[in-house]
């Protein structure tokens, strides 16, 4: 006698087949590993090397962003931290918001804020003008 897979009515509706939660779980781990490296090196370079925290001013930032290396570094850090943080907060909202309405609005607010920061941040990294001040004394503006 052949047996076949029994069909039982699942007591709950499964959402559409999707690996979204799987990838978002993986992304948290992978971006976390990269962030350890990116953030610690970022903090070290900005706060410890050279004059340390006293060296951080407009000129310091201008100097860093004139190099494609630091542009890429900061871009990566921005996107990873932002997506990681947003996905983390999405999880927290899912965990703690009890009503669907609350959940929807909190997440809408979160995604909106996240998009604003990512777009604005990316824009600044690529369009940063070290000579925005016409009286600038920076060497690149002479």
């Amino acid at each position: 006698m052949a047996t076949s897979t029994p069909v039982i009515q699942a007591p709950r509706n499964l959402a559409s087949k999707s690996n979204f939660e799987l990838y978002s779980w993986l992304f948290m781990r992978l971006s976390g590993v990269l962030l350890v490296f990116l953030v610690l090196a970022h903090l070290f370079v900005n706060l410890m090397l050279g004059d340390g925290i006293d060296g951080v001013d407009f000129a310091f930032v201008a100097g860093k962003w004139s190099s494609p290396f630091w542009q890429t570094w900061d871009l990566l850090m921005l996107w990873l931290a932002q997506l990681h943080g947003t996905n983390g907060l999405r999880t927290i909202i899912n965990d703690y918001a009890e009503r669907d309405g609350t959940r929807f609005w909190l997440k809408s607010l979160l995604y909106l804020a996240s998009i604003v920061v990512i777009v604005l941040g990316t824009l600044v990294i690529f369009t940063f003008d070290p000579c925005i001040d016409p009286d600038s004394t920076l060497s690149v503006c002479q």
Partner: protein, 233 residues
Amino acid sequence: MDVTLKLRRYNPEVSDEVSWETFSVVQQPTDRVLDALHTIKWDQDGTLTFRRSCAHGVCGSDAMRINGRNRLACKTLLKDVNPGKPITVEPIQGLPVLKDLVVDMEPFFAAYKSVMPFLITDGNEPTRERVQSQKDRDRFDDTTKCILCAACTTSCPVYWADGQYFGPQAIVGAHRFIFDSRDEGTAQRLEILNDNEGVWRCRTTFNCTEACPRGIEVTKAIQEVKRALIFRR
């Protein structure tokens, strides 16, 4: 030994209000919390309501929150729960309370049913038993120990906030078949737990492992299912 128990009382037939009631009983230090509850029910207040069937840690009906931790009342000795102070006993959390320490287990069983906790096979039935090596049997031995007491699921903070989450027990129940070499329903079960209310809701807080009266490594089992999902083909 004089012991004080502080019980969470609720009887919707009398009042919608929850109250805490204190009882004093005389017990041996090696008596169990269940014995103290029996003393109260049999000698002091017959209306006290709780579940217990076998009373020896196998049937899984008397999971309750004892001093803030999920335990089986029939496996918890009074001397181990700081009997010098009042011992608090409440129903397990996250399921609707029906009366006193009794909760509605239906949502919990529904989650278990939805992972299809039975052997699924294809093809002809063998004429004799389905042979399995000792090694293959050992692979899922830990998760066969589950007695469906709900101590794990109702200790999970994600489950408290989101009753749609399958919860640790359903994942343990699925693990028992996913890693059984005789079973052929793995793909279906993994797909079910890949749901957005499935294994990815787990935040690895280990409450479930801590709560399991059978010593099942629940969090580990959940992680093994996550891994199986990531590496499935």
